[in-house]
Amino acid sequence: MSVLIQAQTTAAEVAPSPGRGTRVLRAFKATPFTYATLTVVSALLSVPLVFVVSIALSSDQTVNANTFTVLPHEFHWENFVRVFGTELPMGRFLLNSVLISLGAVVGQVLSSGLVGYAFARLRAPGKNVLFMVVIATMMIPAQITMIPQFLLFKELGWVNTFLPLIVPNFFSNAFNVFLVRQFVSRLSSDIDEAAMVDGLGFFAIYWRIMLPMLWPILIAIGIFTLTHAWGDFMGPLIYLNDESKMPLSLGVQYITSTSQALQAPPWNSVMVGSILLTVPMIAVYYFGQRYLYEMDISGGSAGVK
């Protein structure tokens, strides 16, 4: 879902506005009401984010007394430093998030590229049936397999390690396979046919010829995988119990849940954690959005019609 939302965001920047003609049609004329509404809505949606920054910069006393304000009135930048000290293991959380996310991205990129290429180009009996199975698996909610998967990983002794969160990614994901297949189908097959005539094997074709052409879609898949793994909460909640193993998404929640019931959570540190959780996602989106456009053609149209 979020995949498709993000996928099409850049289309907005590519397509010219229909209002930008020689003459503005009435349907595209902005009125004072348009500006007023957009201003109010943008402001309302932004208030929580401004609050986050304000609280992250508040002193402990301000937070305990609940006297923080929307706009920051004090600037305790040291809040951003001390969460990495001995008091809170935020540095550890961050490192764990990076390790889990990178493992997931490497797995998806390696496996989805290979499998998607095979579904687009190679020939074998039963291929079409298998591809229908790929599509069908997208409809099955993860909760069905959650319990047996947990039992499997427990049996393997993988509970409280990163492995249950990383290893399944090396077996590709149906949606990513679908995206790569669509992408490869749009590429001309002249080059790989020529390479085959020259006696190159399928694997060499994939590695030397396809992969350099596939990287835009693989970067997009990497971004989706990263976003998902970075923000995942349920997976770490099921598999990781030690504080030293938790990623940031679980760690931030852990800080609030372990504070005494009567005592308010250390909101300033929690908000510093939320900022650490959010800023990389904004950066990834900002630098990666042109690659997300790749998905518009394949994912978007196929999904809609």
Binding site: M1, S2, L4, I5, Q6, T9, A12, S17, P18, G19, G21, R26, A27, F28, V41, S42, L45, P48, L49, F51, V52, I55, V70, V115, A118, L122, A124, M139, P141, A142, Q143, I144, T145, M146, I147, P148, F150, L151, F170, F171, F202, Y206, G231, F233, M234, I238, S249, L250, Q253, M271, S274, I275, L277, T278, M281, I282, Y285, D296, G303, V304
Partner: protein, 288 residues
């Protein structure tokens, strides 16, 4: 047979992480199992208990419906409205669009943390309401307000639908609006007679995907409500209930049965949505 070598990662993953677990889950749903002793075969008993004797399950089912039925259409309607405003010739359009889209980039856990703070009984929202003389409820601690609070949280992400629908609006041929203007149709009439019909396929797609996603709500409920599911189970939903049964009480059989009922609900809604498409979804390819 290079094909099978190349797809082996997916094939192995499908067998080990999907098909195998699905069969295991189906079997487990017909047993009673606490993971410490051997599973006991109980036939359809788990399903019978869930559907006939478990008021909490029905409450969770109702709450999930309630949440999905309000949050998804509300988010889409808001997105459609905002996209239509942004599609006009607006100065500072990029800035507005960025501000509206920004919340959707915030990871769910961080969003939940933000709203936990905003919705605290003496938190900013109630302080704001206090200024205008309204004494706000305790939101997440109040059984009547916890579901609306979760809906507010989901609507904060309406920027996703906005940007998506805006992109789709830009693809609507300008000639349609020109012709409508010649015919004397006003902007509101044009919105309902051109913009909305042209967007129905994408609205429909997002409605279905949104409902499927909403039925699986978990993190928000788990993080924001205490005990999980809110006061008196007032915000208990399908997946948090399943999670509790499986990982707090080790009722693996019962929890597996819940997961299959969840699958059934999602399937029924998806099929229902597709059955109604002919009535209201406009596909350009069907014309002419």
């Amino acid at each position: 047979m290079w094909f099978y070598v190349f797809v082996s990662p997916w094939l192995v993953g499908f067998l080990v992480f999907l098909l195998g677990p699905m069969i295991a889950s189906l079997y487990l749903s017909l047993t009673e199992w606490d993971t410490f002793t051997a599973p006991t075969w109980v036939g359809l008993q788990n399903y019978v208990t869930l559907l006939r004797d478990d008021p909490v399950f029905w409450k969770a089912l109702w709450n999930t419906f309630y949440y999905a039925a309000i949050s998804v259409p509300l988010g889409l309607a808001l997105g459609l409205w905002l996209a239509n405003l942004l599609n006009k010739q607006v100065r500072g359009q990029r800035a507005f669009r960025t501000l509206i889209y920004l919340p959707t980039l915030v990871p769910l856990v961080a969003t939940a943390m933000i709203f936990k703070m905003v919705l605290a009984p003496s938190g900013p929202l109630n302080q704001l309401l206090g200024f205008v003389g309204i004494s706000g409820p305790a939101w997440l601690l109040d059984s009547d307000w916890v579901k609306p609070a979760l809906i507010v949280l989901s609507v904060w992400g309406a920027g996703g639908a906005t940007v998506l629908l805006l992109a789709a609006m830009r693809g609507i041929p300008r000639e349609l609006y020109e012709a409508a203007e010649v015919d004397g149709a006003g902007p509101i009439r044009q919105f309902w007679s051109i913009t909305v019909p042209q967007l129905t396929p994408i609205i429909f797609f997002n409605l279905v995907m949104g409902l499927i996603g909403a039925f699986q709500i978990f993190s928000q409920v788990y993080i924001l409500t205490k005990p999980v599911g809110g006061p008196n189970n007032s915000s208990q939903m399908m997946v948090p209930l399943l999670f509790n049964e499986a990982f707090s009480f080790y009722h693996m059989g019962y929890a597996s049965a819940i997961s299959w009922l969840l699958f059934a609900v999602i399937l029924v809604f998806t099929l229902l949505a597709f059955r109604t498409t002919r009535k209201w979804v406009f596909y350009e390819t069907e014309v002419g």
